[in-house]
């Protein structure tokens, strides 16, 4: 019971202290776990950066089961954490129910839209970033055959694949796109062996650039591509350094910035829905020392031009969510 009492007491203290003391923010990781080398880890990095820069502290929780989502949200809200940031669309439905019970607490959800007055929803325009790396892939490919390897077959990953395919077709109208999903269970996020096998299969069909949007599985994709001396494209974080000179680029999704910004804004966070695309720096392609020899001047000019066109609306990238179809690729 003492543990519960401590919790209750701390809740009471925070309640009494009210606006006087600044409440700690909190971060909840989804079932993939904190160190998934991808999405959750990017969120963790953002929170760590905030800690290092401000010296502040934050609470963090890792989900163990579906039933715990509500429990975790309520307990954090009751202990006075503010704002509470959660990663992953799977929280959407739960947050919809919990948020109205804690009007004083601000919630931030990444990758889903929850329409409540005290919730900030952050979506990333993955299709835009993927479009850009698709253009790069088409330019780098000599065989004019490029590959896409997704993790678990969920709409989010189809969004990545669809943007990529559109980019490839935009650059090279008759290029061939090979697309495979690693699996249909959450294990597909962390199966580098199968990722490698799929890569080899795509290579044997002629692919010479492969884009991995597959969490931990992508490590195997990048490895197999490097072993076969073809190019690969990383995802979420900048993965160019994993195989210098072999990773063409990475489609970065700045989850870390989203978390960092939310923590920095603290209780005064502005709520509402926000889409972070190319224009907002939410997604993009990575260029650093590791891949500067792979991206020629011509490619860079071209991709920056396309980026401008997307931002100005001249090129409209189809959003897979809008109608659950993809004009450039069938799954």
């Amino acid at each position: 019971m003492s543990f519960m009492k401590t919790l209750m007491a701390s809740a009471a203290v925070t309640a009494v202290a009210g606006g006087a003391a600044l409440a700690d923010p909190a971060l909840i990781f989804d079932l993939g776990g904190k160190f998934d080398k991808s999405f959750n880890e990017a969120a963790y990095n953002g929170a760590q950066r905030w800690t290092e820069e401000t010296g502040g502290s934050y609470k963090e929780l890792e989900m163990q089961s579906e039933a715990q989502r509500e429990q975790a949200l309520r307990r954090l809200a009751e202990t006075g954490a503010n704002p509470i940031v959660m990663t992953g669309f799977a929280f959407g439905n739960t947050l919809e129910e919990v948020a109205p019970d804690y009007p004083e607490t601000k919630f931030v959800i990444i990758d889903a839209v929850v329409e409540q007055p005290n919730v900030k929803s952050i979506m990333f325009a993955e299709q835009e970033g993927s479009f850009l790396v698709g253009v790069l892939a088409a330019m780098a490919s000599e065989s004019k055959t490029v590959g896409f390897i997704g993790g678990m077959d969920v709409p989010l990953i189809r969004q990545f694949g669809c943007g990529y395919a559109q980019g490839v077709k935009h650059q090279e109208a008759d290029a061939k796109i090979l697309a495979n999903m690693t699996g249909t269970t959450p294990a597909a996020w962390n199966d580098p062996v199968k990722g490698g096998e799929l890569t080899k299969a795509q290579i044997s069909q002629g692919a010479d650039v492969v884009y991995a949007a597959a969490g931990g599985t992508g490590i195997g994709v990048l490895q197999a591509a490097a072993d076969a001396d073809i190019l690969s494209i990383g995802v979420d974080s900048n993965q160019n350094h994993l195989h210098p000179g072999k990773v063409l680029t990475s489609m970065v999704k700045r989850v870390d910035n989203a978390v960092y910004d939310a923590f920095t804004a603290g209780e005064n966070l502005e709520t509402g829905a926000q889409v972070l695309g190319l224009a907002e720096g939410g997604v993009g392609y990575a260029l650093d020392d590791n891949n500067k020899d792979l991206i020629t001047e011509e490619m860079k000019t071209r991709v920056d031009e396309v980026s401008q066109q997307i931002q100005s609306g001249e090129i409209e990238v189809h959003d897979y969510y809008s109608d659950n179809t993809c004009p450039a690729l069938s799954f």
């Binding site: 890792e62 429990q71 309520r74 307990r75 669309f89 989010l156 269970t185 969510y321 659950n324």
Partner: protein, 365 residues
């Protein structure tokens, strides 16, 4: 003659196994520099120390009762049904289809319909492995495991392509209509004026699980079908000689088993989430195997074992949520319990038997 009294077999063996598992877990926790005492305290208070903890513990227990009973029924026919996971998944699909098909006016109507859907879908998923085993001799362990993967793929296809609401990126169905909302135990307690387990997922399905325990007991030990199932399980040639059709009993036992596993979906899909998500079963189908082994395939044993695993799940969750003990360690603790109570059962039983034999000899002398 039995080597040791029944109470020792049923209570002493699992208890000693459990203590051994706990002791090794404690050593592991010590090794990573945490206090085992604090860990145990967090687990016990988190799972049993409040009506809140109980609300979660009983929710998990309900899941494990269904999957445990599913394994137990098949086991009596000497069939090792490892497909509880897939059968529960497909059971969930049945629940979702039924809950979303009509604007249900009241849960009293929706519940029986959804139960039929859950049991039918679960049973149907067990039917193919059953018929393959009965007719072709394809080993049920292999086929049921394979069917888990097929179930995952089918569910994924249904949720991603067909049942997902337009514009949503979460591979899950829409929320069930309000009329399909099952009464939570907290709501039932509130009705009689008690505040109990607010915001916990345990719901009326818990009582259905208890009734299922009784019905399974009646089925196995008090009906002709149960006798046939057990006879087949003990010796197929003998059963055949007695005029029992192995094909018929194999299929029926697996249908009941699959139906029970499917019924779990009433708890997690209809009672808790009120929509179907990809990850709805969360390994409860596999926990059911450990629950049945530990519970000696007896419904009452299954109930107790399910309670233990419910405690481990909720306590472990609390441990991971609120302490610095990493969540991987929780899996280690749960695995140790399964290892000792399920797989290494004889390690405890054989020395115990020897002790009892020695005691008995002494008594006679």
């Amino acid at each position: 003659m039995d080597k040791m009294p029944k109470w020792a077999d049923v209570i002493l063996t699992p208890l000693i196994s459990l203590i051994l598992a706990m002791a090794i877990s404690a050593l592991v926790i010590l090794a990573i520099g945490e206090s085992p005492w604090m860990a145990l305290k967090t687990m016990v208070t988190g799972a049993l120390g409040s009506s809140y903890g109980w609300g979660f513990t009983l929710y998990y227990t309900t899941n494990f009762i269904f999957t445990g009973l599913a394994v137990a029924v098949a086991y009596h026919a000497s069939l090792f049904n490892i497909g509880g996971e897939g059968q529960a998944m497909i059971g969930g699909l049945g629940v979702a289809l039924i809950c979303l098909a009509l604007p249900w006016p009241h849960w009293g109507v929706a519940l029986p319909a959804a139960m039929i859907g859950a049991a039918l879908f679960g049973a149907a998923w067990a039917f193919i492995p059953a018929i393959l085993q009965a007719k072709r001799g394809s080993h049920i362990v292999i086929t049921t495991i394979m069917f888990n993967f097929i179930a995952a793929a089918l569910l994924n296809y249904m949720l991603v392509n067909i049942m997902r609401p337009q514009g949503s990126q979460d591979p899950a169905t829409a929320r069930f209509p309000a009329g399909a909302h099952l009464p939570q135990l907290s709501e039932m307690a509130a009705m009689i004026g008690i505040e109990w387990g607010k915001n916990t997922p345990v719901n009326i399905t818990f009582f259905i699980a208890l009734i299922a325990c009784v019905l399974v007991w009646l089925l196995i030990w008090r009906t002709r079908l149960g006798y046939e199932i057990r006879a087949l399980g003990r010796s197929e040639p003998a059963a055949l000689y007695a005029g029992i059709s192995p094909v018929r009993i194999t299929v029926i036992a697996m249908l009941i088993s699959g139906g029970l596993a499917g019924l779990m979906a009433i708890n997690n899909v209809m009672g808790e989430a009120e929509r179907l998500v990809l990850n709805a079963v969360e390994g409860a189908g596999f926990i059911g195997i450990a629950v049945a082994l530990m519970g000696r395939n007896h419904p009452f044993g299954v109930l107790l074992a399910a309670l233990l695993f419910g405690f481990l799940y909720q306590g472990g969750g609390e441990l991971a949520l609120w302490t610095t003990i990493p969540r991987e360690l929780i899996v280690v603790i749960q695995a140790l319990v399964i290892l000792f109570t399920g797989a290494l059962d004889n390690m405890v039983r054989m020395p115990l038997e020897r002790i009892f034999l020695a005691l008995r000899k002494k008594g006679r002398a």
